[in-house]
Symmetry: C2
Amino acid sequence: MGTRASLASNAASTRERIMDAAEDLFIEHGYSATSLRAIASAADVNLAATHYHFGSKFGLLAEVFHRRIQPIDLARQAGLDALEAQPEKMTVRAIVEAFLTPVVTAGDSDPELRERLPRLIGRLFGEPESLTKPLLEAEFTDVASRYQRALASALGGASADQVAWHFHFLVGGMIHLMRLQAPLGKTPSAASLRAGLQALINFAVAGFNPLKKDA
Amino acid sequence: MGTRASLASNAASTRERIMDAAEDLFIEHGYSATSLRAIASAADVNLAATHYHFGSKFGLLAEVFHRRIQPIDLARQAGLDALEAQPEKMTVRAIVEAFLTPVVTAGDSDPELRERLPRLIGRLFGEPESLTKPLLEAEFTDVASRYQRALASALGGASADQVAWHFHFLVGGMIHLMRLQAPLGKTPSAASLRAGLQALINFAVAGFNPLKKDA
DNA sequence: ACTAAATTCAAACGAACGTTTGAATTAATT
DNA sequence: AATTAATTCAAACGTTCGTTTGAATTTAGT
């Protein structure tokens, strides 16, 4: 019996069906409340296929997450690279935009992805830390601290601690935005993700303002 | 066999031990990943006691949540009542403070509570909506919309939609603040909840500013 | 002290869980 | 066509889950 798939013809089809179904169910019910049997059933594959392709339930989660977060991570790195090449454009607003926009633009080509990606991120940040820490440390910690350094610089050398707090709130607003069907009383009316993102950008840029030093 | 406790002598002791243990474990591992056996064991009570006192696992969660959120809810209502009695003090900052401070002041008397309360709230907002919706609708929706109305008024009649978006981000920042040991790269150094709350107040007040109308 | 209600307890219920097995089947290689 | 590897499959592994039962025990009321 093979231990892991490497490259085969229609194996990707099974793998992808499992990942798609898992993503849907993780979003809807969370990780712990989603069973591999429910995933296999929704994907119309045999239960054992989940372990054959992903090794374990957590391994499946890791790949589902990686598939979505990597493009965002790369876009964020590229966005900061582009700003660093033109230092005169390195404003707080530009940095905030570079951090936030990949979340929506990553799904520009695929309408289905555009809907699921934010919800997956919102869900994952809500899972217990013991579950998410290894995932986020692999693909979020680096870019987060890089953006904090850029913000501190653009703010004229503001305190790293204060920048870290504000960056926390920016991320918190982003995550909360990605859970729009969320428990906040009435949801805003024309709730397109893009409009919410623009509001968050304005909110965060204005929120960073008090930290600015004239230097 | 009795169906539910009403008032007895040391029954409250068992009830409270269960709720305390459940709170700890829900915070640490989330709702689904926490078993009633683990709760009963941590509380040093018989497994069946959980069903005797709370009816079901969800019933236990509901009471654990209610015990913590109700004082905050009442303080928030009282804070807005006080501001409405003195309309000249009804500023954006005062409203934001009235909304946020109960989260920390509610635990002023009990140091243990001060540590657990924010983490419980942070955890609960991260649970799947199907689980939290009935809980939050009972004890959060009303006060949230009341604060949104107050903010819209203090901002000189700003658009309800825009206020709703910004209030979303305020709540998102609050929740994220309450998960400080969170997955954000390095945690800010002197991370007392009160310092973070002050930073969030400044962030949010500045964030609401662009909505202000001169009217 | 007696009675009745409230509470605790050990034990078990059926169901669902993640995981493993080993044979059957399909695909790739020579 | 023969051989090997990759994948799918039905079935079961042992464990844990939320819940229920009914008797034992403790507490409250008279």
